[in-house]
């Protein structure tokens, strides 16, 4: 073989090799033929999929609006996203390199910790807890106000890979401000509601004073009594509103406290008639809404007043027992018991012409409750009802 031929042959081989390399490089090869087998080349799809997913991950990280930084176990910054870099550039006093890739984030936190910034102290402790494997995740809301504006951030530190951590700082200023607005508005409403209960109570008290004044001018004792009953009823309603604005709740009152207060008032209002009657209380705390407390208070007012006026007629002294309890079945029981002369034999209290007892009937129906009357060495009224569940 002449040199010329040999060179031509080599050139051919080279050209062929070039063709093979080009086909391989442009991913156009499916199989490689060997001396005794064929190997399929299926790298391309897997490679493409990997490239696509890597690219997708990178672009997703960059597109996220939260400021994201990934740390290794020592706290060195491995990866940051666009939002992080931008924020660092705008906010780092002079040197944003302290929070760029390669810097140590823990070191970057130390000056603020040394200055006793409570947010920085908590943040550093949280990051160290996650890096040290003591906690999987730490979240922290902190203020980071700039001279121009108020800013709030939510920091989340999540354990990542082999001992590292991903830290996300999300700007939550808008949420925080909305929260503050809601709080302020809620507070304003509470103040207004309190004010309304106060005014209702004051107005009812004015009405009861007017009734008292009118009663004082009456010569007829029977008429004075009627006015007195009316005054007590208005007063028992006013007391619910007084209790409402006194409690932080504004929607419910502690009824045992109300019972104590109302009976104390009745004993004062009924002067000598009440002075000889010994009052005994057995009260458990029961919370009632305003809508339930008003009719319930009126029922107590009627039963207690009725007993004061009629039960001890002709007696030098007596005893009245008022009990309030929430039973195991969830129902509330209000008992008014006296050791007086008892109801007239053979009479039915439901047929009574007394406005007070008619009111008791009407109000108990309104509350879907039942009234039981027992007479055994006195009279016992027991009113049982199921208080409506407060809206959740």
């Amino acid at each position: 073989m002449s040199d010329r031929e040999r060179i031509r042959k080599l050139q051919e081989q080279l050209a062929q090799a070039e063709g093979v390399i080009e086909a391989l490089r442009s991913h156009q090869v499916d199989a490689i033929v060997g001396q005794d087998d064929v190997a399929l080349v299926r790298l391309r799809e897997a490679e493409d999929a990997l490239r696509v997913s890597e690219d997708l991950n990178r672009r997703t990280l960059q597109a996220l609006s939260a400021h994201i930084v990934v740390l290794d176990q020592q706290g060195r910054i491995i990866v940051v996203n666009e939002a992080w870099t931008k924020f660092a550039r705008r906010n780092a006093a002079g040197d944003s390199a302290t929070v760029a890739v390669g810097a140590n984030y823990l070191e970057a936190c130390r000056p603020a910790v040394a200055a006793h910034d409570p947010a920085a102290v908590a943040a550093l402790a949280g990051i160290e807890a996650v890096l040290g494997g003591r906690q999987e995740q730490v979240t922290l809301e902190y203020p980071c106000h700039s001279p121009q504006e108020e800013r709030w951030f939510l920091m989340t530190v999540v354990a990542f890979g082999a001992g590292g951590a991903v830290i996300t700082h999300l700007n939550i200023t808008a949420r925080k401000q909305a929260e503050e607005k809601l709080h302020a508005s809620l507070h304003e409403k509470e103040v207004l509601l309190k004010e309304i209960h106060h005014r209702v109570k004051n107005n009812l008290q004015v009405i009861s004073s007017l009734i008292s004044l009118q009663a004082d001018n009456l010569a007829d004792e029977c008429q004075r009594d009627l006015f007195g009953d009316l005054r007590d009823r208005v007063r028992s309603m006013a007391l619910v509103h007084e209790k409402l604005y006194e409690t932080a709740n504004l929607a419910r009152i502690e009824f045992a406290e109300y019972v104590r207060h109302l009976l104390h008032y009745l004993w004062r209002a009924h002067g000598s008639a009440a002075a000889a009657v010994n009052l005994k209380l057995d009260l458990q705390p029961v919370w009632l809404s305003a809508e339930t407390a008003v009719p319930c208070g009126l029922i107590l007012n009627e039963l207690a007043t009725n007993a004061l006026k009629h039960a001890f007629r002709g007696r030098a002294d007596g005893e009245m027992m008022v009990a309030l309890q929430r039973r195991k079945d969830g129902q509330v029981s209000l008992q008014v018991r006296d050791n007086g002369i008892g109801l007239p034999v053979g009479s039915d209290w439901r047929q009574s012409r007394s406005l007070g007892l008619q009111l008791v009937q009407m109000l108990s129906v309104q509350l879907h409750g039942t009234v039981a009357v027992r007479g055994d060495g006195g009279t016992e009224f027991e009113f049982v009802f199921e208080p409506p569940k407060p809206p959740s």
Binding site: V20, H27, Q28, V29, D30, V33, D37, V38, L40
Partner: protein, 110 residues
């Protein structure tokens, strides 16, 4: 039959003189092999009509023929024309390269 100035005799002989022997080596239905098949079919229809002999060799069934033809990777097209052999590797997407190997007009232009 188109009337030609050089006479019917030469025209009738011409196909024999330029007849191409094509061997396409593929690996089953792998994506590039499939693509090469389709590309070659298209090129033949457009440029060679019936003026060629085509053999398709699946290396997954017969790799000895590939070895003998010095085909190391597939898809590969082996073209025997006018006493010379050319091998084109890849999925034959670049038509001009294929035509050059076939020594057809568009390639001569370049």
């Amino acid at each position: 039959m188109k009337p030609r100035t050089k006479g019917p005799k030469t025209a009738a002989r011409a196909p024999k003189a330029t007849c191409h022997r094509l061997q396409l080596f593929v690996a089953g239905t792998e994506p590039n092999s499939q693509l090469a098949r389709e590309n070659l079919k298209r090129i033949i229809a457009a440029h060679l009509k019936d003026n060629c002999e085509l053999a398709i060799v699946d290396v997954l069934k017969d790799f000895q023929t590939a070895l003998a033809a010095n085909v190391l990777v597939t898809p590969a097209l082996v073209v025997d024309a006018a006493g010379t052999r050319t091998i084109i590797f890849g999925n034959l997407t670049e038509t001009t390269k294929v035509l050059a190997a076939l020594r057809l007009p568009p390639a001569r232009h370049e």
